[in-house]
C-alpha cells in the first residue's frame, strides 16, 4: 500500500475543499457575522494541506485499485472532520453531532441534528448547503477535473471506487474533460434554479441555499418547516419538484443535450424513472385526496413534490407527510427504495439496477420455458455483461443487508420499529427524513454519540454504494499476496 500517494491525494482534495469553503467566509462578511474562527480554520486547513502537498510533491502518484479504495474511504472520514469543525466553531454541538451533520451534508443525505434551524448563523446554514453541493457531484469528480493531478489509470480506479457496479460513461476520451463538463452542467442548473426561486419570491440567501440543496438532492433547508415554509406558493414547490427530478437524471444526458443530442433522454432507465415517478405521484395524489379531503391541486402539489423529494433521495418536506394515511406512507416507502438514475446526484438503489434485476429475473423465467435458448439481458439495445449483472445483484443484496443491520441495531437500541426501519432506509439511501421519531418534522439530535457515528457510517456506505466500504473488511484487501 502506497500511503504517501494516498496522503498526497487527500492533501490535494483538501486544497480544493479549502478553496471552496472560502464561500463560508464570504457569507460571514456579507451578513456581518464574526469571521475570526472560520478565517483561522481555513488558514490552518489550507496551510496544513499545502505543506503536506509540497512535502510529497516529488512523490510519484501511484494509485492502484487498493490505494484508490482506501483513499476514497479515508476521504469521507476526512470530509466529515473538515466539514464538522466549522459547525463546532459556530454552534454548541459535540464532535459526534458535527461529524454526523458533515457526513449528512457531503453524502447529500440531509438528516440534521439541529432542532432550531432558523436561529443558526447564516454562515452555518450556507456551510451545510455548500457541503451538499460539493458532495452532490462528488469532490473526486471535481478533483480529477480541476487538477490534472492523477495518473490516467489512477483517476479511473478512483472513479470506480466512488461509484461501483455501473460502467463509467464518457462523451470524450479523457475522464478529465467529462468530469469538468459535468461540473459545468451542474453549476448551470444550480444557477438557473436559484434565479427561478428568487424570481418566485424567495430571498437571495434562501434561493441559493435551496438551489444547492436541490441540485445535489441533499435536503438541508434554511427553515424549520423545510420547503413547507413556502407551502403557500405552489410555483416554488413545482419548480423545486422539477429541479429535483432533473438532478435525479444522469448528468451525461444533460451534457449530451449541450451537443444537441437527445439520446440521453431516450434511455430505458430514464423512461422507467419517469414512469415510476408519475405512477407513484398520481397514486399518492389519489390516496391523499380521498383521505384528507384536499383539493386536487393541493394534493397533487404536495404528492408530486414528496414523491420527487423521496425518490431522488433529496428529503425536502413541503408538509409533514408523516401524518398522512397508511396507504400514502406505504407509497412513500416504495419511493424511498427507488433512487434516481445512475450518474445523477441522487443516491439509493437507482432505477437502472431495478431494470437490470427485473430483466434478469424475466430472462430466468424465459430460460425455464426454453432450456436450449441463449438468453441475454439487453439494455438500450446493448447486451449487459454478466459481470455487471452479478455486480448489480451483489449490490442489491449488500444494500438490503446494510439496511437490515442498521434496522436491527436501531431496534435493539430501543426505538420503535417504524423509526428503526424508516430511519435505516433514509440513512443508507441518503434521503434524510424517515417516519415516526425521524419523520420530516423531527431531527436526529436525540441519538447518542455512538448512534450518530454508526448512522454516519451507514450514510457513507450508501453513498459509496456498499462495495467500496465493505471491501475494507475483506481479508484479501489487506493481504500482500
Amino acid at each position: 500500500m502506497d500511503f504517501k500517494s494516498i496522503l498526497r491525494f487527500l492533501s490535494q482534495i483538501g486544497i480544493v475543499l479549502g478553496l471552496l469553503m472560502i464561500g463560508d467566509l464570504i457569507v460571514a462578511w456579507i451578513y456581518g457575522e464574526p469571521d475570526g474562527p472560520i478565517l483561522l480554520f481555513l488558514l490552518l486547513f489550507l496551510l496544513s494541506n499545502l505543506v503536506l502537498f509540497f512535502a510529497l510533491r516529488s512523490h510519484p502518484m501511484r494509485l492502484g485499485i487498493r490505494e484508490s479504495i482506501l483513499s476514497v474511504n479515508l476521504l469521507w472520514i476526512f470530509l466529515g472532520i473538515a466539514g464538522g469543525i466549522p459547525l463546532m466553531l459556530y454552534t454548541p454541538i459535540d464532535p459526534a453531532s458535527a461529524f454526523f451533520e458533515a457526513i449528512s451534508g457531503f453524502t447529500t443525505t440531509g438528516a440534521t441534528v439541529y432542532g432550531e434551524i432558523e436561529s443558526l448563523p447564516h454562515l452555518v446554514l450556507f456551510h451545510r448547503s455548500l457541503m451538499h453541493w460539493i458532495g452532490g457531484m462528488g469532490i473526486i469528480v471535481l478533483g480529477v477535473g480541476l487538477l490534472s493531478m492523477i495518473n490516467p489509470s489512477g483517476s479511473l480506479s478512483l472513479f470506480r471506487a466512488e461509484s461501483t457496479g455501473i460502467q463509467i460513461e464518457k462523451l470524450r476520451p479523457r475522464i478529465r474533460e467529462t468530469a469538468l463538463s459535468l461540473w459545468g452542467v451542474y453549476l448551470t442548473l444550480t444557477v438557473v434554479d436559484a434565479l427561478l426561486l428568487k424570481g418566485l419570491g424567495m430571498g437571495w440567501f434562501d434561493a441559493v441555499n435551496h438551489a444547492f440543496s436541490t441540485l445535489s438532492t441533499g435536503g438541508f433547508s434554511t427553515k424549520n418547516a423545510s420547503m413547507g415554509y413556502w407551502a403557500d406558493s405552489p410555483a416554488i414547490l413545482w419548480v423545486t419538484t422539477l429541479f429535483m427530478m432533473l438532478a435525479g437524471i444522469n448528468f451525461l444526458a444533460h451534457l449530451r443535450l449541450v451537443h444537441r443530442d437527445f439520446s440521453g433522454y431516450r434511455s430505458e432507465e430514464f423512461r422507467w424513472y419517469l414512469t415510476v415517478f408519475l405512477v407513484l405521484s398520481v397514486a399518492l395524489t389519489l390516496t391523499h385526496e380521498t383521505a384528507a379531503f384536499d383539493t386536487l391541486g393541493h394534493a397533487a402539489t404536495h404528492s408530486f413534490f414528496t414523491v420527487a423529494s423521496v425518490m431522488t433521495t433529496t428529503g425536502f418536506a413541503s408538509t409533514d407527510y408523516g401524518l398522512w394515511t397508511h396507504p400514502a406512507i406505504a407509497l412513500i416507502f416504495v419511493a424511498m427504495m427507488m433512487g434516481g438514475n445512475a450518474g445523477s446526484t441522487a443516491g439509493g438503489i437507482k432505477i437502472v439496477r431495478y431494470v437490470v434485476i427485473f430483466k434478469t429475473l424475466f430472462s430466468e423465467l424465459k430460460r425455464i420455458l426454453h432450456p436450449r435458448a441463449t438468453i441475454s439481458v439487453f439494455i438500450d439495445g446493448r447486451r449487459v455483461h454478466d459481470s455487471v449483472i452479478a455486480a448489480v445483484f451483489g449490490f442489491f443484496l449488500l444494500y438490503i443487508f446494510t439496511n437490515i443491520l442498521l434496522t436491527v441495531y436501531l431496534y435493539a437500541r430501543g426505538f420503535d420499529s417504524m423509526t428503526a426501519l424508516s430511519g435505516a432506509l433514509a440513512i443508507v439511501g441518503n434521503i434524510g427524513p424517515g417516519f415516526a421519531r425521524v419523520g420530516p418534522a423531527e431531527n436526529f439530535g436525540f441519538f447518542t454519540d455512538v448512534d450518530k457515528v454508526i448512522l454516519a457510517i451507514g450514510m457513507i456506505i450508501g453513498r459509496l454504494e456498499c462495495y467500496t466500504v465493505y471491501l475494507l473488511f475483506s481479508a484479501s484487501f489487506w493481504k500482500k499476496f
Binding site: S153, L156, K170, R172, P173, R174, H385
Partner: protein
C-alpha cells in the same frame, strides 16, 4: 492530440495504453468484449462498431481528429476505413498498418491520402536481416539522415569507455544485471554487460574483431522455426542474402505453403513428431543461427533454448508480446520484434517524430534516442548550443558522419549537423521539449 485508433487487437491495445497517457484516445472495434477490457483499464473512449461502416463515426462528438490509426488485421478494412473516416470527420494525419507489400510500391496510398504506412512483416524481416551483416551484434538499428548505426553487443571482457570513445564510438547505454542505464563519462564496461554503441559500422566492426581476436565469424547456415507468413518472409530475406536456409513447422500444410512460396529454394521440414531427432537428422546443430519465428512466444523461447542446448551460437526469437521481451532478453536470446510489436513501436515512433525530429526506442523501450537535423537556412546555423547534460541523458552531435562529444568540439552549428540525444525513456518528454525548444 485527438487520436482515433481503429482496431482493439494487440497493436491497438498497446497503442491505446501508451498514447492515452498524454493524448485523448478513441478506440473503435466491433468486438464488444475487447472494448470492455480496454475501458476497464484505460482512460479512453470506446466506440463499438464496424470501422468500415460510416454510421460508426456518427457516434463521435468531435468532428475532427489529429490522427487516425488503422491497425486491424485486414488490409482492406484498414484501407476503406481511411476513406470513410475522411468523409465523416476531418482528419489531419492518417497512419495505417498493411500486410501486403504491394502497397509500398504502388500509388494507391497516395491516392487515398494516407500519410504513413507501416509494414509489420517487412519490419520484422529487416530486423533479422540486419543480424546477418553483423553476426556479433545483438541488434542493429539504422536511422534516416545518417550512416551511423546503433549496435548492441554482449561484451566478453572489461573495457574502459574512454578507449572506445577515443576511437569515435559512443557508448550510449549499458544493460547490467537486467538494469538499463545511460553511462556517464569514465564508466567502466564490465564483462557480461550488454552495451549499446553508436558510431560508424567499420569502426564498431573493427572493435569487435579486436575484442575477440579471432577471424570474423560469418553466418551462412540458418534454420527458421515457423512457416507462416513471417517465417516465409524471413526465409526469403535470408535466401536473398545468400544464406543456406531450412524452414521447419509442425503443420504440414504450412510446410507445403512455404515450399510453394519459396519456390523450392528452401527446404521445408515438417517437425511434428519430435524435434530432438530433427536436430540431428537435419544437422541443425551446425546452423550458425536459429530463428524461432512463430507467433507463439512460449514456443519461440523453447525452440531457442533447445537450439542453444544443441550448440547453436546465435539464437533469435521473434517477440510478439511485450510481457515476454524481458524474459527472452534475460535468457540471453537475441530478440527481434515480431510484426505486431514492430508495428506498435514504429507507429509510436512515427507519431512522435516530425519532419525535423526523429524518435526511436531501443533496449525494449527502456531507452529513447532523438535525432534533430540542423536544417538548411534554419535558425540554428551559426549558433552555439549548450548541450543537455543530466543523469540519464547523453547528447552528441554528428557532423559529416563524425561524432562530436563536447561543446568545445562542436563550436558553432553548421548546416547538416545532427543532434543525437540518448535518454532513459522516462526522460523522453524532457528531451523532446529541449530539442523542440532549440
Amino acid at each position: 492530440m485527438n487520436i482515433i485508433i481503429a482496431g482493439a487487437g494487440k497493436v491497438g491495445f498497446n497503442l491505446a495504453r501508451t498514447l492515452s497517457h498524454s493524448h485523448s484516445v478513441t478506440v473503435i472495434d466491433r468486438n464488444a468484449e475487447a472494448l470492455h477490457r480496454l475501458q476497464e483499464t484505460l482512460d479512453i473512449l470506446p466506440v463499438h462498431g464496424n470501422i468500415e461502416d460510416p454510421q460508426t463515426y456518427r457516434k463521435l462528438i468531435d468532428d475532427e481528429a489529429d490522427l487516425f490509426i488503422a491497425v486491424t488485421n485486414l488490409d482492406e478494412a484498414n484501407l476503406i476505413s481511411t476513406l470513410i473516416v475522411d468523409d465523416r470527420i476531418r482528419v489531419r494525419r492518417k497512419i495505417i498498418r498493411l500486410r501486403n507489400q504491394f502497397f509500398s510500391r504502388s500509388s494507391v496510398l497516395e491516392k487515398l491520402g494516407v500519410d504513413e504506412t507501416v509494414f509489420p512483416l517487412d519490419l520484422s524481416s529487416r530486423g533479422v536481416a540486419s543480424l546477418l551483416e553483423y553476426p556479433r551484434a545483438n541488434n542493429v538499428k539504422r536511422f534516416p539522415d545518417t550512416e551511423l548505426k546503433l549496435f548492441s553487443l554482449r561484451v566478453a571482457q572489461p573495457v574502459e569507455m574512454e578507449t572506445l570513445e577515443a576511437d569515435g564510438i559512443a557508448v550510449v547505454g549499458i544493460e547490467r544485471e537486467k538494469h538499463f542505464e545511460i553511462p556517464e563519462k569514465g564508466m567502466r564496461i564490465e564483462a557480461g554487460d550488454l552495451v549499446y554503441l553508436f558510431g560508424e559500422v567499420e569502426k564498431i566492426r573493427g572493435y569487435c574483431a579486436r575484442l575477440e581476436g579471432e577471424t570474423p565469424w560469418r553466418i551462412q547456415r540458418c534454420a527458421v522455426f515457423g512457416a507462416s507468413d513471417l517465417g516465409i518472409t524471413i526465409a526469403r530475406t535470408l535466401v536473398e542474402n545468400g544464406m543456406e536456409v531450412k524452414i521447419l513447422d509442425e503443420d504440414p500444410g504450412l510446410c507445403r505453403q512455404a515450399d510453394e512460396a519459396l519456390e523450392g529454394e528452401v527446404l521445408a521440414i515438417n517437425c511434428k513428431y519430435g524435434t530432438e531427432e530433427v536436430f540431428e537428422e537435419e544437422g541443425l546443430e551446425r546452423a550458425d543461427m536459429v530463428i524461432a519465428a512463430t507467433d507463439n512466444d512460449e514456443y519461440n523461447i523453447i525452440k531457442c533454448l533447445e537450439a542453444r542446448e544443441h550448440g547453436v551460437r546465435k539464437v533469435v526469437a521473434i517477440n510478439n508480446e511485450m510481457e515476454y521481451y524481458k524474459l527472452m532478453h534475460s535468457l540471453g536470446i537475441v530478440v527481434v520484434r515480431g510484426p505486431k510489436m514492430a508495428a506498435f513501436h514504429r507507429i509510436v515512433e512515427t507519431i512522435h517524430s516530425t519532419r525535423v525530429l526523429i524518435e526511436r526506442k531501443y533496449c525494449g523501450g527502456a531507452g529513447t534516442v532523438f535525432l534533430r537535423r540542423v536544417m538548411e537556412g534554419g535558425p540554428l546555423i551559426g549558433r552555439q548550443v549548450k548541450m543537455l547534460r543530466q543523469k540519464g541523458i547523453r547528447s552528441l552531435v554528428v557532423r559529416a558522419e563524425r561524432l562530436l562529444f563536447e561543446v568545445e568540439e562542436v563550436g558553432t552549428l553548421e548546416e547538416g549537423d545532427l543532434f543525437c540525444v540518448f535518454a532513459l525513456s522516462e526522460k523522453a518528454d524532457e528531451v523532446e521539449r529541449w530539442l523542440n525548444g532549440l
